[in-house]
Amino acid sequence: MERRQFLKVSATATGGMMLWFACGKSKGKQEPTGDGEAPQPSGEGADLNAWIRIDPDDTVTFRIADAEMGQGIMTAVSMILAEELDASWGKVKAEHAPSDSEKYGSQSTGGSTTIRQGWEPMRVAGAKARVMLVAAAAERLGVAAAELTTEASQVVHAASGRKLRYGELVAAAAKIAPPEQPELKAAARYHLVGKATPRLDTRAKVLGQAVYGLDVRLPGMLTAQVVRAPMMGAKPKKIDDAAARAVAGVRDIVTITSGVAVIADHFWAAKLGREALVIEWEGGDAGLDTAGVSRKLAEAVGKGVEVRKDGDAAKTLGAATKKLRASYEVPYLAHAPMEPLSATVHVHDDLCEIWTGTQTASFTVMKAAAILAISPEKVKVTTTFMGGGFGRRSQVDFVADAVEVARAAKVPVKTVWTREDDVRGGQYRPAALSEIEGALDADGWPVAWRQRIASPSILAALGPLKKGVDATSVEGVDNLPYGIPNVHVTYANPALPVTTWFWRSVGSSQNAWSVEHFLDELARLGGKDPLEVRRRLLADKPRHLGVLEAAAKAAAWGTPALAGRARGLAVHESFGSFVAQAAEVSIENGAPRIHHVWCAIDCGRIVNPSTITAQMESGIVYGLSAALHGAIGFEGGRITTSNFHDYPVVRMGDMPVIDVILVESTADPGGVGEPATPPIAPAVCNALLALTGKPVHRLPIKLTA
């Protein structure tokens, strides 16, 4: 029996082991068509383009080239395709597209770009397929295409009352040349886009049937874990694997680039095997500790290169009588997606097959091809569901490990990370220090802003920095939106031996905090209300103002909070969207307690309001975990943080009530996966400032008595 056939058979036999994951209605459940007749599957199904397949029973399968990691894009992209295709939503299924650069171009998901960049091409793809179906119907009915309309997966000839189902047209439609520039639907005719739509993947996830990277099972598969250097940059000097090899279920132990891999029958044997390994390491930086990170940032911060200069901030600051200076520091952060990393790889017959939860099928292909010295066409990636990504899965280190292990093992191997491997694995949100100075005019309004940023660069690992500036480290500051005439921004890239990577909202995750919290400090110095200051300085920024006013109104800004509570506001633009948040906070047992968050977003055209609301809640919780708890610690060159006991996150009992306001807009869609994360830390810190009179100059927040 062919292996692929075997996989299908085992899928049916056990239910929970499907290697591909059907979303939405199963093929078995056919829905009646518009005329009330059950469709009669006949003929053949066909692809109308890279994204759209239709089967004779009218099932529409969308192949989504971006990665579904929880943010809801599989559903949102399907909505856009279905809207233009006029597909009946009840017959829509979605799945991740296979890796195929010719068909899909770059398959990488990050920067909240799926809908922003897919809005136009996905509408066009849906419209092209619709035109092809109409042309096939025109031919069959012997009428002009202009006499035909489409609705609910049917082509309708109103004049004669005749209707043809997409399922009976698809085989003929697939032979018709797609139009160059199909006409797109007018927004007024949208019936899906803009309407709260349940996710296509909910049912599979609620039944425990969705297949994630860690759930992949192949016949004859082994499971590996890799012991990586305890200090970044260290290499194994001496390995004693006798005891590890004696562990029941351990099959082999191999040295790979990143460490020593234990290959075993299953996770547990691999774990016992790695615990029995005795490895002597050499190299690495044993001097690094948490205080040392702060020291390096402080040494670098004054030595940056210029990023932005308006007016003369130094002169204004020098002459000002009312001014303020503060420094803001954030630590390294792990992404800690709920599902630890894994990749299953089978290297065989000059081919490399990979099943993994990756944000980038494209880089996965390139990485595997480079390691194995084969052409990229010989690498096939199946993207599974993923238990969170937050940027971590756009790095391909875990795939590289798995490819090396599978090459050595010659059978399919799933290489898995434990939670400890994940938290200690580097690829962190960089630590950062901002020194900010601000000056007020005689009336108490800000007139100068100088911000010096030191933060280890993410982009430097990928290529030389343009003019010495990592654009991600300064985002939110280089485009400071406030109407302050004198602005000076510099950036320094301190050398630290810690790997860094894109973390949900990237530089905005720390810069929104420093900017928005310092602005409240300045407002306080000038005796101004934080909303008043922003209104004045954002007078020519309507989208910032729009969300700010919406959040302030929802929070009843200006009315007194309950006794012992105070409110704080923050606004930030990132990834093409504008988000303002107000937080109501008190202090309980010496720690901040967040009672309520009001969040307003203007993300342009709204595709799925239900998803946007969910992403606002999600981004707030993620940012709140970082603000209240998140910090990676170092001691003697080792990472001291390891799991959720010392890397705590927000839980149910810590949850504020969250109200989300979607601000109407006809602008093109902006991102929604990341923009809710940046404003929450400053909103909370501004509330604490209002409550206690004390600013917060370091995250995570530690209140001093």
Binding site: P198, V206, L207, F385, G388, E617, I620, R651
Partner: protein, 155 residues
């Protein structure tokens, strides 16, 4: 060693070392991957199953310690192969709770256990009963609504 275990109403035989946590028996030996791994140290409850009706950390329960007490996993919560869903699952679907979904089987198993003991929980009782389950995607608000909905019989 050979063990006979009772999972979702079926008796299954597996070969395992006595210390092997139930989580890996389910996932790696029986192919029941609906029960998830999140921390392996009783921190996240992604691995929640019911053992003799009581919620338990599958990552902390060695196979030898379970004996033949019946275990229910997310796959066994609905009946007839997923046709009839548990009221909690129905509520989860009605409110579109999951994002990435990785924590959700554990959340659902915890919620079912909570409602078993406290059929009409208050917000505070939900906070307390669900505080062990981490969700990195932040679906807590919808989880709370879904538990209230399931408690009220689906409205």
């Amino acid at each position: 060693m050979g063990y006979r275990i009772n999972v979702n109403g079926e008796v299954r035989e597996v070969e395992a070392t006595p210390d092997m946590p139930r989580l890996w028996v389910l996932r790696d030996l029986l192919g029941l991957t609906g029960t998830k791994y999140g921390c392996g140290m009783a921190q996240c409850r992604a691995c929640t199953v019911h053992i003799a009706g009581e919620p338990a950390f599958a990552c902390q329960t060695a196979i030898a310690a379970v004996g033949d007490r019946p275990v229910t996993t997310i796959e066994g919560l609905s009946t007839d192969g997923g046709k009839t869903l548990h009221a909690v699952q129905e509520a989860w679907i009605a409110l579109d709770v999951p994002q990435c979904g990785w924590c959700q089987p554990g959340q659902i198993m915890s919620a079912v256990a909570l409602l078993g003991k406290t059929p009409a929980p208050t917000d505070e009782q939900i906070d307390e009963g669900m505080n062990g389950n981490i969700c990195r995607c932040g679906t807590y608000s919808r989880i709370k609504l879904a538990i209230h909905r399931a408690a009220k019989g689906g409205v």
